[in-house]
Amino acid sequence: MGYDRAMPANRLAPLVSREPLGGAFFLLTFAHPETAREARPGQFVMIKAGTSAEPPLRRPFSILSADPASSTFSLFVKAIGPGSRALCALEGGEVAQCLGPLGRPFTSPPPGSEALLVAGGYGVAPFRFMADEMRRSGARARLFYGGRTAADLPLLPRLSGPGLTVLPATEDGSLGARGRVTVPLEAHLDGLAGPRPKLYACGPDAMMHAVARIAERRSLPAELSLDPWMGCGVGTCLGCVVRVQSAEEPRPKYCCACTEGPVFDAARVVWPGDDCSSARRHAAERAGARG
């Protein structure tokens, strides 16, 4: 697995604070010592409002921040379905059922380069955590933060800080650059000199696929935090599988996003409708050129 993960803890997590951020967005802070202590950027928790029988399943949420000193972690949640709505309706002191930290975190960016973070909507959550960690290590990051409209970017005021440059983009032009988040990303890459940056992305599937294509076209490494429907979070239900293929593997295989992701190397992902991953395709092309 390459990363020695701490064992997740399954326990009730009291809500410590609940901060409305406008619209359907909330910043929720829970007490959960193991997640507070062990979580790494890109990891997630499986969580469900403890008071509700419905909906049945816990939901995966990327961790926004973790604070070992107060034994708490925070989530950035958009109340859009029954699970997220129940979570956002919790009052202080009420509990959630919480299992975490889970999953494979983002790997560190190569030293000397600026990490390029690409977020769509509530996919920004892991990048606040990542930016905090990078700041501590003295690394620099640039965050491309996109949404349909200004109201989709409520975390914007909380993201600035030394070492992090934030470039908002909205499809309606109400905030930052007009258009999809990949427009300013490509403009930045076009003007870039110096060491090759690494891309990190979290957002809707279409955005992830677009970032993967940009990375492939420009031969840049990219890590994607994918978000399929998840049942258990620990690799037993096999519901959250993603089709992946390394350069060496003759055929794609299904990997659990919960235990082998949610962060995947973009070159290994086999997109719907494709026969193979870009890593495999390039390996085959190189072999063909040699042969």
Partner: protein, 313 residues
């Protein structure tokens, strides 16, 4: 307090067993769940060869339930015996292997390879998976085929043989009797119910496979009814499974005539469910002045119907 139950010659330290397909190969939960606290574990279904499983999406949440079409993704029996079984042997719990096949011969061969393997207490025979094109429910939906598969597995192993019956049939008693006549030692009742969820915008099935199997609390009354019907129809013991999430749910199945139960979907929601239910169950028995969980089995008072499994008492 006696919580241990015995059935099909297997001793389970308590009546709570992890259901096949919901607990992986057991090892996934090492460190998260104390496996030796479980009555037993039924490992995920295994064929001779590894299987990719069904296309995504594979799970859909429904009211009080989960609709799934995983398609029996798995590592194959040989990899299981080589890589998983040695790890599972370290845990003091009864391990059952869930045997699958596209053909009768494949079921028998998987069973044969489990025979004589230290650490395997018995075989559950999967004749009821709704999410594969061959085998699975095709065998469990025809009493003659049920008989044929169970007889072939029976002949291939000395291990206890426990067919898992499908609820997607008219009269489960017919299938219970067919399995018993073919030499089954016990029955698991029930597998998931065949369902379909539709995305109204795309007008397509919400699952990649199309139809799926429904599990969770939504199916519990159906499972209790079918486990009760099966228990009345045969002399061999029945393991109840379907939507269990509390001690009250466990007791329903026991009272209906089951000697043990399996917990599945509820452990996706909370991997700590076994400890929680075991504690509740112990408390219930104490509160009712009982010192043996077996005293509850088959105690259903249902005017017009005899006790669910009278031959056993």
């Amino acid at each position: 307090m006696r919580l241990a139950v015995e059935l099909a010659g297997i001793r389970f330290k308590n009546p709570l067993i992890a259901a096949s397909g919901t607990f992986g190969y057991g090892v996934e939960h090492e460190g998260l769940v104390e496996l030796s606290r479980l009555g037993g574990i039924v490992a995920k279904g295994l064929y001779l060869q590894p299987r990719d499983g069904a296309p995504v999406p594979r799970i859909v949440e429904t009211p009080a339930g989960l609709l799934n079409a995983i398609g029996l993704q798995g590592i194959g029996i040989d990899a299981f015996l080589r890589e998983m079984l040695p790890r599972l042997r370290r845990h003091d719990t009864a391990l059952l292997v869930n045997v699958c096949g596209d053909t009768v011969d494949e079921y028998a061969e998987v069973a044969r390879r489990c025979d004589g393997q230290a650490g395997i207490a018995g075989l559950e025979v999967n004749i009821s998976c709704p999410n594969v094109k061959q085998g699975g429910m095709a065998f469990g939906g025809d009493p003659k085929m049920t008989h044929q598969v169970v007889a072939a597995v029976r002949a291939a192993t000395r291990l206890p043989v426990i067919p898992k019956l499908s609820p997607n049939v008219g009269d489960i008693a017919v299938f219970a009797r067919a399995a018993e006549e073919a030499g089954a030692d016990a029955l698991s009742c029930i597998n998931t119910l065949l369902g379909l969820a539709i995305d109204v915008e795309s007008r397509r099935p919400r699952l990649g496979f199309g139809t799926g199997g429904l599990s969770g609390p939504a199916i519990r009354p159906i499972a209790v009814r079918m486990a009760w019907q099966a228990a009345r129809a045969v002399k061999i013991p029945v393991i109840g499974v379907g939507g269990i999430a509390s001690a009250g749910d466990v007791l329903e199945f026991l009272i209906a005539g089951c000697r043990a139960v399996q917990i599945g979907t509820a452990s996706f929601v909370d991997p700590g469910i076994f400890e929680k239910v075991l504690k509740e169950l112990t408390e219930w028995l104490e509160a009712h002045g009982l010192d043996d969980v077996n005293a509850v089995v088959g105690t259903l008072e249902y005017p017009g119907f005899g006790r669910p499994c009278p031959e056993e008492r």
